[in-house]
Symmetry: C2
Subunit: 457 residues, 2 copies
């Protein structure tokens, strides 16, 4: 048994290494869904990739949005034909902005000191390649121990707005017994982090127009400007203490049970490491509020200004009353909350507080989802991670991040655990996104172990 | 006498028309001081222009900032050698942003239906050319009736930050008996607007940095973002009713006397026309507050957000906690207020309200100034305007706009009146800035009449 495991480890390392060249090709495709960049060529690339690894592929493109790619790899002749594991990945990436802060080009992979830098390495192209390398490891030996399916979509970074109709229509095609979600990373103490759930997100744009043209700011004694309107409207929605003030915002939340709260209490959390990682200039919100950051990350909804713009933002001074202003708002949701409800709350709040001129658009939304933390599949993913990485794991009942987990469960009814290829410095969504080759190899072995064990339960 | 006036009118029209080609050359120079564009070539162009019209020129460049151009045109042999009129102009222009809203290119003058479109037509290149055309009109006939000096600077649109040392050092060079200021325009009922004073301005940049890198917004339950910090700080400075809340902001204001207030009460003000001109979406500030907009424009200080930016402002959604945010703030000041005092007030206000992380920079500031409304020169500018334009005039004790009038009087001790080439649709500082050729010609005659009469008083 030790010999078999050692052999697998060697093979997994070999095929992981071998796959890096293909990963580099994949990373060079600037598939930014928010900017509609390079989508057709990326779909073609991914479909070809699955076929190269022996998959049957369908490109689903009949329900709007970027195509959804289906891949199927049947169990080998000695495998369990009645068990199917579904992998969820996405081929789109976040915009690379701000470009000036990258040390290398975001779409030119750079390998340096065992770290591979490029947009999409951690989120989420690395994970797909790693999973394919795991399949190859098993195929080369004795064939796959169970069926494997892939769902690879192209709008995850834009809120997976078109995914639900695909899941609804193709639920038979994607049917499986369990699902491995797209992402995961090690923490800064080298523990592998696994997630059995996910927060939701509702992304809004708020905008206002105060005039048809920008006006000389000498008129400001009579005429207000759009920037002030937006600032005042936003400040009515959240105060300096980070209390969200939108009436009804918290109404539909399903409180976590005591057992779950207790579990979260015992999760590791290194406040100083977090501050150092990001170079935070001020205390954590939870510090200032005397709250447990673990509970906040798992169970508190949020309201973030992801961006805002108005008027002249160039060099020096321009004396102008800006005619328009806009902000992008990301609300992370917990189970029970919906984007539609938050939209109504924000709209009503603005009306009530004298800001009926502020337009609100719900850009996209996804509900939160939590798997049963005691499901055998959840436990198996955890156990095999410990074996493959030879390190501790941390199993979170939910990720503070977001994805379409809720609709996967709605149509496919299956336990879902998220694990991936990142490390503590992966900087997903930020400049200089990266993964470590060592983690990439260990994670390949994790997927190999998981598939073998999963076929047996 | 009628014949002489008619002849002058004809000649002024001729030389005004003739000067348009040169004006177009001048307008093609994109001399945006805020962006350090095309300054040396514009200085060269303007100096050459003054020389072409017979002026003695000095380019003053020994005290920092963009060069200040001095021009001197002596009185003719029949003129009054002991009287000197000073013209103040600037060769720099506002940035042309937002570029997408121009119907023609900002630095490619377009003449259409008697209207000349380009950045700088109204503010302030048109006025300089017009004044030179007036000089030529008088030179061709009998020589200048008095001495004429020009001070043409290159940082007016950036707050004239370096002008004071030049005025201080070269006060003898620029000494004069009265000054015609750079700008002015007709109102929408074709009345010529004249200004015997000017508001001040203090331009600030507020910025904050919350982290060394942008952070995935899934962390928002623990980590706040720079955009919210800035929004909350700004909203503490001015409320939804447009009350400026910065403690001490109003402390040093010199109240206008009752006579001046009374004069202002009787100024024309067409609220509906103003709303239509700019396509305003909401009531005037003064409407909502039940205030007289004339008094507000003349005597109230303001606080405008001229621009703000944070995080992702591109297409679609990016889920990020922005690490930094900044805003540009323009405070129009009335007599008594200083930029240094307002800086201290804002700094102290932010500290007191828990925003010590917000950095404040005073980019530039200029104090307000009001000439004596009963000065003979003020009256003369008014009277000759009525004659030249053959229309009503409106004499404002102060312009709601800003410029370095205060320091002109500080070193040169002279009455100052502002008049210029604009019309009601000139859109200074905004896209599609323009002047009408008819006003340009009438204004040339105004300067001719003024110089002749000024030589006599």
């Amino acid at each position: 048994m030790i010999n078999e495991k050692e052999l697998l480890k060697e093979k997994a390392a070999y095929f992981a290494q071998e796959s890096l060249e293909t990963l580099n090709h994949y990373l060079r495709l600037p598939s930014v869904s928010a900017q509609h960049r390079a989508i057709p060529e990326t779909v073609e690339f991914v479909a070809g990739l699955l076929e190269t690894f022996g998959g049957k592929v369908k490109i689903l493109d009949d329900l709007g949005g970027n195509p959804v790619i289906y891949g199927f790899f049947p169990a080998g002749s000695q495998g369990n034909q009645s068990k199917t594991l579904l992998f969820y990945n996405h081929y789109d990436v976040q915009p690379p902005d701000p470009l000036g802060e990258w040390h290398s080009k975001p779409f030119e992979p750079l390998l340096k000191d065992g770290v591979l830098y490029a947009r999409g390495t951690a989120d989420n192209k690395g994970s797909l390649m790693q999973r394919l390398a795991a399949l190859k490891t098993l195929q080369e030996k004795e064939g796959l121990p169970c069926n494997v399916k892939f769902l690879i979509e192209g709008e995850e970074e834009s809120g997976s707005a078109h995914l639900e109709p695909y899941l609804k229509k193709y639920k038979e095609l994607f049917s499986a017994d369990a699902c491995i979600w797209e992402f995961g990373s090690k923490d800064n103490e080298e523990r592998v982090q696994l997630y059995a759930g996910i927060k939701g997100s509702a992304y809004f744009e708020l905008s206002t127009k105060s005039a048809e043209i920008d006006i000389h700011s000498s008129e400001a004694a009579c005429i207000d400007d759009a920037a002030w309107r937006l600032v005042q409207a936003l400040s009515s929605m959240k105060n300096q203490n980070n209390d969200i003030l939108v009436e009804g915002f918290f109404d539909e939340i399903e409180e976590p049970n005591e057992a779950l709260k207790k579990l979260v209490e015992n999760l590791p959390f290194d406040q100083e490491a977090l501050k150092n990682l990001y170079g935070l200039k001020r205390p954590l919100i939870t510090e200032a509020r005397g709250e447990d950051p673990r509970q906040a990350l798992m169970f508190h909804p949020t309201m973030t200004i992801c961006g805002m713009i108005s008027g002249y933002t160039g060099e020096g001074s321009k004396t102008v009353l800006p005619k328009e202003a806009s902000a992008k708002l990301d609300c992370r949701m917990v189970p029970g909350q919906t984007g539609e409800h938050l939209y109504k709350c924000i709209r009503r709040h603005l009306e009530r507080h004298g800001f009926s001129d502020i337009e609100v658009t719900l850009i996209n939304s996804q509900e939160a989802y939590r798997s049963d933390i005691n499901d055998p599949f959840v436990k198996l993913v955890n156990k095999t991670a410990q074996e493959a990485y030879q390190s501790e794991t941390v199993l979170f009942p939910t990720s503070p991040g977001t994805g379409p987990m809720y609709i996967f469960n709605k149509y496919l009814h299956l336990p879902i655990v998220s694990t991936g290829v990142g490390w503590a410095q992966s900087k997903a969504h930020a400049p200089n996104e990266s993964i470590r080759i060592k983690d990439y190899i260990d994670g390949t072995l994790h997927m190999v172990y998981l598939l073998k064990e999963f076929a047996k339960i």
